[in-house]
């Protein structure tokens, strides 16, 4: 389970979507749409970091790729269920071990090939074999049959919510594995080319340049080009959110996806600009080094953190968390026994351990991802409130790669005491938090609390099967686990992020979908 978190880890600054309607654009591929419209997505960092392979992409590439590739199903944030996409219907056996998907007819890959069950099977098997990105979503799949041209049958080794997993934002894309002929598909994809079924196809990629990715409409898209759609999508890299805001005001940028709360607030009332605030499935966590810090000290740190202050300082960018699972997701409970800022109680806990005011000074290090202004604010506030408890917190902003290497260091003494990072799920399910952050790891990977709890491990290993067969029991198990985790305090749940979008009023059809963070399905917008 590899997860490159460079993207959202640095997600505090600007991520802007630029939408430039423009009549002079040329269009030359398949059926001609009535009007040529350009949609430009403006981001603070490079869109594609790892390459163009839809099987292994595990970074901000999905911003572009989700418009080029499609999945079998797509999560609907309104109904809290999955909708048909490439699959038009599906069903599963009573034991949850056999899943049958009917594929949409008349869908073509950008290579021209027709989407068939065989093609879909080959794509899923390749993704599973490469085992990059979030390929673990196919982890339960034992084998895939194709009894008909458009019928996919999955045989699972344990019950799993496959229709939900098939909507994942990573590693769930269906693509043409024969696109490169006899050559290496990975090489061909990274040239770059694309082999998806989505509404847009790659026009150009200028790595490291401001106008990084340009997509054009795919003429044979199964949804067709009747009605109003953008026909061109441009991904533009603008590192400064002040600049992005300026471009938005000037009407050059039509969508700023993430910026500092004060910047976002300052746009309120600006003519032609619409602000949208929506709960995300992303939360900010401080993983406490359980090998260095005993449970009472971890609890003391949890009591010594000024949650209300953090949320106030981020003025609208953050909402209080309750347990691990953000609101809107299965397994979320609003009334879990959590922590509030209580310095007196924190001091008592520390005193028992020989630290705290008037006792020995406790010196800790905290690492966060450099360049993220929200993390910077939180780190400063934590340092400030912990200082009152005679805890000396050394705050180190590090490039993500450095921060993570330090966390994974084979020498325990080289690791940080507190690791701050964002987490969000790969599909609409809370499992990701538990399995990645809290299950015992021989060598640290994402469990950067280095926390090990045998009973919890056992619960984690059975929770997804339980959810698939007995949802209410599964839900209850999620509650039980969260209560235990809050008691043991290996992680401080700082807040849940709020999306603060700003956009021009020149298009409609925009919908927040927290299952696909920062992705805009441009085809659905009406210019």
């Amino acid at each position: 389970m590899n997860r490159q978190r460079a993207w959202t880890a640095a997600g505090g600054t600007a991520l802007a979507l630029l939408l430039a309607a423009c009549s002079g654009g040329s269009y030359s591929s398949g059926a001609k749409p009535a009007v040529s419209k350009v949609f430009t997505y403006d981001t603070y960092t490079q869109v594609i970091v790892d390459g163009w392979d839809p099987a292994t992409e595990y970074s901000n590439g999905i911003i572009a790729m989700s418009n080029m590739y499609e999945t079998l199903t797509r999560y609907n944030p309104v109904t809290h269920a999955v909708d048909p996409l490439l699959a038009t219907s599906w069903s599963h056996s009573a034991d949850g071990l056999t899943w049958t998907f009917q594929l949409r007819h008349g869908v073509h890959f950008h290579t021209g090939r027709l989407l068939t069950a065989q093609a879909a099977r080959a794509a899923i098997l390749r993704t599973k074999k490469l085992n990059g990105g979030a390929a673990y979503i196919w982890g339960a799949v034992k084998s895939i049959d194709t009894p008909g041209q458009f019928t996919l049958v999955f045989h699972l080794s344990y019950p799993s919510p496959l229709a939900l997993e098939a909507s994942a934002d990573y590693s769930a894309y269906i693509y043409d594995t024969t696109a490169a002929g006899t050559g290496s598909l990975t090489k061909w994809l990274n040239a770059p080319h694309d082999a998806g079924t989505g509404p847009y196809t790659l026009q150009s990629w200028n790595n490291g340049q401001e106008f990084e990715v340009v997509l054009k409409a795919f003429g044979k898209y199964w949804g067709g080009w009747k009605g109003q759609h953008y026909t061109k999508v441009v991904f533009r890299v603008v590192p400064q959110d002040t600049t992005a805001a300026q471009l938005l005001r000037a009407g050059q940028v039509n969508f700023v996806e993430q910026m500092s709360p004060s910047m976002w607030t300052s746009l309120r009332g600006a003519t032609g600009i619409k602000l949208v605030s929506a709960a995300s499935w992303q939360n900010l966590l401080a993983q406490l080094n359980a090998q260095k810090l005993s449970a009472p000290i971890r609890q003391a740190i949890s009591y010594g953190t000024n949650y209300a202050g953090i949320i106030a300082a981020l003025s609208g960018g953050a909402v209080p968390s309750s347990g691990i699972v953000p609101a809107g997701l299965f397994g979320h409970f609003a009334n879990l026994p959590g922590y509030t800022y209580d310095p007196a109680r924190a001091a008592r806990l520390l005193n028992h351990a020989g630290y705290g005011p008037g006792r020995k000074r406790l010196n800790l290090t905290l690492t966060y991802t450099a360049g993220d202004s929200n993390e910077q604010v939180v780190a400063t506030l934590m340092k400030s409130s912990l200082a009152k408890l005679n805890i000396g917190l050394t705050v180190q902003p590090l490039a993500w790669a450095t921060q993570w290497s330090k966390g994974k260091s084979s020498s325990a003494s080289a690791r940080q005491s507190i690791f701050m990072e964002y987490w969000w799920p790969d599909y609409a399910d809370p499992y990701s938090w538990f399995v990645n952050l809290l299950q015992t790891e021989k060598a640290p990977f994402f469990n950067l609390s280095y926390y090990s709890n045998h009973a919890l491990d056992q619960q984690i290993s059975k929770v997804e099967s339980l959810v698939a067969t007995n949802p209410s029991a599964g839900s209850q198990l999620y509650r039980t686990m969260q209560v235990e985790i809050l008691k043991q305090a290996p992680i401080v749940f700082l807040y849940n992020s709020n999306y603060q979008y700003a956009m021009t009023k020149t298009f409609s059809g925009f919908q927040v979908n927290p299952a696909y963070p920062n992705v805009i399905f441009v085809y659905n917008l009406k210019p």
Binding site: T242, S260, S262, A308, A313, S373, T380, L381, S384, A387
Partner: protein
């Protein structure tokens, strides 16, 4: 009575060794620079008394008062965690000027002995030292400091080391020139012939002659070091929060500055004023003590 005429051009109306007072009269900018430097030093010393919220220069935060615009209670406004910017700017007078002082002391401690050895020993020793110096001088100062600071862990110590490592060659070159010219003078030759020890010649003759140009150069360099250190902090390679470093304050404030301009404006003014003050002073001292010294070093 008629005095003897002089057709010395007027720009040299303040000849070398003129009294400080007449120098100040002829060069009001020197007086302004000196006064500003004095002011900055006083602010640095008395920052705890002057700052209305002294704790804000340390770990104190006020999360419910973030990003307040300048007002009577916070003359420069508050930052992203509610700290009083005025207090932090005042305490900042203790950070970069101090870095500059340490950097210049290290640079002199390394550069001056090397320069003396090169100038006094001559021959291949001189050649070797000066070629190494040439290589270091082939980097624009900020560039090498930046490369060094980027590969070292981000801290004030790294910044100090990185800048000092790029600054010493200037002093080696300066002192070498002085030492070589003094070493060639007849009385030094005579001292050598008389068997007077080298160290004694160095301390009695070479170093005293180098004090004035060194002093002028150091005073000219303070502003440059402050700007370099601020630039490195701005790039996140230097001081870390909550150190009230002006460059860091600008870097942090950059995310907020479009609506909340005061986060960036005041720390930047402090850098400008400080660098300006030291440059005025250095420039004036150069005119006064060592008018032939070029700006190009």
């Amino acid at each position: 009575m008629i005095e003897s005429p002089s057709i010395t051009p007027p720009q040299a109306a303040v000849p070398r060794g003129a009294t400080l007072r007449s120098g100040l009269q002829a060069n009001p900018l020197l007086a302004v620079g000196g006064a500003l430097v004095l002011l900055i030093v006083l602010v640095a010393i008395f920052a705890p008394l002057l700052a209305p919220w002294a704790g804000d220069a340390g770990t104190a935060t006020h999360p419910f008062d973030v990003l307040h615009a300048p007002s009577a209670s916070h003359l420069f406004g508050t930052d992203q965690v509610g700290r009083d910017i005025l207090s932090r700017v005042l305490f900042g007078a203790r950070v970069s000027p101090l870095i500059a002082a340490v950097v210049l002391v290290i640079a002199c401690a390394v550069g001056v002995p090397l320069g003396v050895v090169a100038g006094f020993a001559g021959g291949w020793v001189d050649e070797a030292i000066m070629r190494v110096t040439d290589v270091f001088l082939a980097f624009p100062p900020l560039l090498l400091a930046l490369a060094l600071a980027a590969v070292l862990p981000a801290s004030l110590t790294s910044v100090t080391i990185a800048i000092a490592a790029t600054w010493w060659p200037w002093y080696t070159r300066l002192i070498r020139g002085q030492a070589a010219s003094v070493a060639g003078r007849p009385y030094v030759e005579a001292c050598r012939a008389l068997g007077i020890s080298r160290l004694r010649i160095i301390f009695r003759h070479i170093l005293p002659n180098s004090v004035t140009p060194l002093l002028v150069q150091v005073s000219l360099d303070v502003g440059g070091v402050i700007l370099t250190a601020s630039a490195l902090s701005f790039l996140g390679l230097g001081a870390q929060d909550p150190v009230p470093d002006w460059g860091l304050m600008i870097a942090e404030g950059q995310s907020y500055f479009t609506p909340d301009w005061w986060l960036v404006t005041f720390p930047g003014l402090a850098i400008l004023l400080t660098a300006f003050a030291f440059n005025l002073l250095g420039d004036g001292l150069r005119d006064l003590l060592d008018p032939k010294r070029s700006f190009l070093r």
